[in-house]
């Protein structure tokens, strides 16, 4: 902006933005030109904004700066309650400060503010003492995605039973959009439950004091039934079966894999129980010899 010339609308908005998103606050952004706020000329601020003796312009801009940050903080606290519980409010606040600096919202809806948080926490140096966070955040973000994923018809037991016997082995599953299979490096499903118990404890247990989850390969599925989101830990057998089904393997091939180490009768029973649970939880959309993924 040229000194003395009235600012155009774009310059005004860029200045406003720089001031209200400056991490140390509006005053610091003006007073410390070498700070992260980036060299804002105080004369420019005076020329653009109007205040009065009751409330100077800088303090007025500070109202927006506070609202900017706390709105984003509140949004992420709502979308990632377990992350906040695990870190405690102060560490969570600091994490959000770093996150929104690196990834300001670029979507018109706050719903998507956290979309880059899973990858961000994985590389967030101050959170290095919490190696399980990436897993926990991925679970929370996946739940959010399943919550409002597209609606879909679901496969029923009756529809499965109607498949001609000779083509059952060649049948493939199609999954509903409101479903996800997750693999973790930590026991985050168990940890989630422990956090729930701590929270249900009426404040007697500090969630941040809940022992951190052990490092161990685990898996979970996330699904939605009757508009409510659920997740559950999986044994390796079921995780593998789901993986195969998601990859489009036939029911015959899935049963073959499950049969390893089991008698044919045991394998059939195991596969049957598993698939019935998938149907009852509404994670399968369709099944048939010609079902395309």
């Amino acid at each position: 902006m040229k000194s003395g010339a009235p600012p155009d609308l774009k310059q005004t908005q860029e200045l406003f933005w720089a001031l209200i998103t400056a991490p140390e606050g509006v005053r610091a952004a003006i007073d410390q030109p070498s700070g992260r706020g980036g060299g804002i000329d105080p004369a420019q601020v005076d020329a653009v904004f109007a205040g009065d003796e009751n409330l100077p312009a800088v303090e007025r801009l500070d109202i927006y700066a506070n609202m900017y940050f706390f709105r984003l903080l509140d949004c992420l606290a709502e979308d990632f309650p377990k992350l906040r519980a695990a870190l405690g409010p102060e560490r969570f606040h600091n994490l959000v400060t770093d996150y929104v600096l690196q990834h300001p919202s670029e979507h018109p809806s706050l719903r998507y503010l956290g979309r880059r948080l899973p990858e961000f926490v994985a590389g967030h140096a101050p959170s290095a003492g919490f190696p399980f966070l990436a897993d926990l955040v991925r679970l929370e973000w996946t739940r959010a995605g399943v919550f409002d994923a597209p609606d879909s018809a679901t496969l029923t037991r009756a529809a499965l039973a109607r498949l001609p016997q000779e083509s059952v082995g060649e049948a493939r599953f199609r999954f509903v959009p409101a479903f996800a299979l997750l693999r973790f490096d930590h026991e985050v499903v168990r940890y989630w439950r422990a956090l729930d118990e701590a929270e249900a404890d009426g404040g007697a247990t500090d969630p941040a004091a809940v022992p951190h989850p052990a490092r161990r390969k685990t898996a979970a599925r996330v699904w939605r039934k009757d508009l409510v989101v659920y997740h559950a830990g999986l044994d390796e057998e079921e995780a593998h079966a789901l993986e195969l089904a998601l990859q489009g393997e036939t029911l015959g091939r899935i049963c073959q894999v499950l049969a390893a180490g089991l008698s044919p009768a045991q394998a059939t029973e195991r596969a049957g129980r598993m698939i019935q649970a998938w149907i009852d939880d509404g994670i399968l959309a369709d099944c048939g010899p010609n079902t395309s993924l």
Binding site: L9, F49, A50, Y64, R111, D151, L227
Partner: protein
């Protein structure tokens, strides 16, 4: 007697009240849904809105159109808004006279505009494009503001009136926002009411705010205060019984408390307009 297209008295549709609203009839005439909350592929939000829409008129009220931003209008956003409007057929679509971000980044706030000729031309052109894109009534709301611009050449109500006159959009007059901005910028809120063209006002908003000592903050977490009810009365006298909506977005009380606030708005409207003509049972000459 009612305004030609008045929906009556409604409240904002908020997640905390979904179960209650679906469980039994609400003592309100209509609901206002935040557009962005329903711009999702599926799941509970859309299911709830579908069921609410089966029973009540709705208005779609956006917070992210960013009509005053110097960034290009977001076509994807407009597509989603258009799809939502086609699906739910709101009485109208509204958003705010503000900007929300620049350089592709979103503040998720309602940031004030300088009231200059340049900003006026900019906003009018964009409102016209939005109206063409949506092909349905579009309404702009005045926001609460905390800072002003040195080069503003007109008061906000003149700017808003000009936007409405030149673009043909309607006005959503937020009575609480007028009160908050009047205190923050030291103008008479009645000048605002008098400065807005009567024919453009399509809806009122009412809400609570917080007194922070040196300024008022539009928090939507309190009941409407008496001074704002008085201003509402003035607005009803000037603009007639236009659709009125009570917003409560934080520290959300039980739905029944919100119903009471809406019923109070109706009572105040009736009081402001005086007794209805007595029906004699005979036709008049």
């Amino acid at each position: 007697m009612g305004h030609p297209d008045s929906l009556g008295h409604g409240v904002g549709l908020r997640r905390d009240h979904f179960d209650r609203i679906l469980a039994r009839p609400a003592r309100v005439d209509w609901f206002e849904a935040i557009s962005e909350n329903f711009m999702v592929p599926g799941g509970r939000p859309l299911d709830v809105l579908t069921r609410v829409r089966e029973r009540y008129p709705i208005v779609l009220h956006g917070v992210s159109l960013s009509i005053g931003s110097t960034d290009p209008l977001d076509d994807k956003y407009l597509d989603r808004l258009d799809a939502l409007a086609k699906r739910f057929e709101p009485a109208w679509v509204s958003d705010h006279l503000c900007w929300s971000g620049v350089g592709g980044r979103q503040a998720h706030d309602l940031l004030p505009l300088p009231y200059t000729a340049q900003a006026l031309d900019h906003v009018v052109g964009r409102v016209q494009r939005v109206q063409e894109r949506l092909g349905r009534p579009f309404v702009l709301e005045n926001v609460s503001s905390y800072v002003a611009y040195a080069d503003s050449a007109m008061p906000e109500w003149e700017f808003l009136a000009e936007v409405a006159r030149r673009s043909g959009c309607g006005i959503l007059l937020d009575i609480n926002n007028i009160y908050v901005s009047a205190k923050n910028h030291r103008f008479d809120p009645r000048d605002y009411i008098l400065g807005v063209p009567k024919e453009a006002v399509r809806q009122f908003h009412l809400a609570g705010h917080s007194n922070k000592g040196t300024f008022l903050l539009d928090t939507h977490d309190h009941p409407v205060i008496d001074e704002v009810w008085e201003l509402y009365k003035d607005a009803v006298r000037r603009f007639g019984p236009v659709s009125t909506l009570v917003e409560w977005d934080d520290k959300i009380p039980p739905f029944e408390r919100l119903e009471q606030e809406s019923i109070r708005a109706k009572e105040i409207q009736d009081e402001a307009l005086g007794p209805a003509p007595v029906k004699t049972g005979r036709g008049t000459a």
